[in-house]
Symmetry: D2
Subunit: 124 residues, 4 copies
């Protein structure tokens, strides 16, 4: 399948961007992929992921069976695929944005001040 070609791409996020462009293009689905619609679809996929954890204590491995582990793996993938498509539509380099945001977070939450502090963490 053509979608199997790309994993050879140098970088994972770049490869997924290319794969999703090809997938949506082959199906003429770009017309549905406004940033607003993709943001809504992303919210729905995240809820399908969260649903697996809603009645569990912590979601630790021993609270899951293989069917749930596979379903969670697939939902994590769906979330990433919509996130990559939304970032692509917005012209955002996800990796650069994430590294930049972590630098901002490191300034906002100095390790020495917030270490193990749930109170501060709750205000995170």
């Amino acid at each position: 399948m053509t979608t199997h070609a790309s994993p050879s791409a140098a970088d994972s996020l770049t490869a997924l961007r290319d794969l999703t462009r090809q997938f949506a293009g082959e199906r003429d689905w770009q017309q549905f992929h406004t940033p607003k619609n993709l943001a809504m679809a992303l919210s729905v996929e995240v809820a399908e992921l969260a649903e697996h954890f809603q009645w569990l204590k912590t979601g630790a491995d021993d609270e899951l069976d293989d069917a749930k582990r596979t379903a969670i793996r697939h939902e994590l993938a769906d979330v990433l695929l919509y996130l990559v498509q939304l970032a692509d539509k917005r012209g955002v380099d996800l990796y650069a944005a994430a590294v930049e945001k972590m630098a901002l977070n490191a300034v906002k939450y100095p390790a020495a001040q917030v270490r193990g502090d749930a109170r501060k963490y709750n205000e995170y």
Copy 2:
């Protein structure tokens, strides 16, 4: 800042996994990072992203100003950072899972059958 070192890592998702491990470790925040809590935090970040689009027509670039573009960029980053941490806690290779899921989607939605078809797409 140490978090600036890693971008040299070979792959973006691997680098972000390493950066988030280091960031949470330095703050002793792993104790709060159960899969259930991370799934909930991910939902909240996705909603903060969606909020920027909720009253817009499509979220096209001409509906946004620079402040909104930057805010959206940062929210996209926050979503990715929580997604990477949740996948890490679940031991899921996000890239392999996404490629696998796209292969399943390609079988489920043959291009020839679903091309530009909103009805089928709505059942996606």
Copy 3:
């Protein structure tokens, strides 16, 4: 069915609170109904509702068929039922809280200032 008894209750939100208490009690499900779990379940139900609208232009009646109208009706009900249970667990009178919040909103958004103003509305 016993749950049919209560609609005689004077007020709709009070009747639903009583019905959900009885329903969860009969199934010994209160043990799963922590505020955190109910908040998570509420998020999931809202996403199941939002999913019906994600690829539609506006969700106007002519974009829906009867199956979708019924599904949306049921999802609206599920959202209300979880909301009522979460408010009950928190000891919140939903009606009093909503009237109070509308009074606060009326002060925050004076009609004369925000009338038809999407910009202000976007900052809502």
Copy 4:
């Protein structure tokens, strides 16, 4: 303030429907209130509610302070207000729909079979 008049209305959900119609009408905000936009706004409000619980164990009263209790009360109100507006736009009687859905749930989850059963509950 006019919004204080209505609590005299016979039923809480009916009164809130009337209050929200008046509030949006006075501000000419109906133009923004498509079912799709209201569903998206509802998702955002639910996430603002869930955010208060995301790092807590269960959200029990002793895990909260007064500021959090008030914030949760206001978020519960916001969720109800958007839910009432979305149901109104869809022409759905929320109370009738909720009673109907509980009757369906009572058939789907017979008390004798599912009592205290987390496994079945997880498949709920």
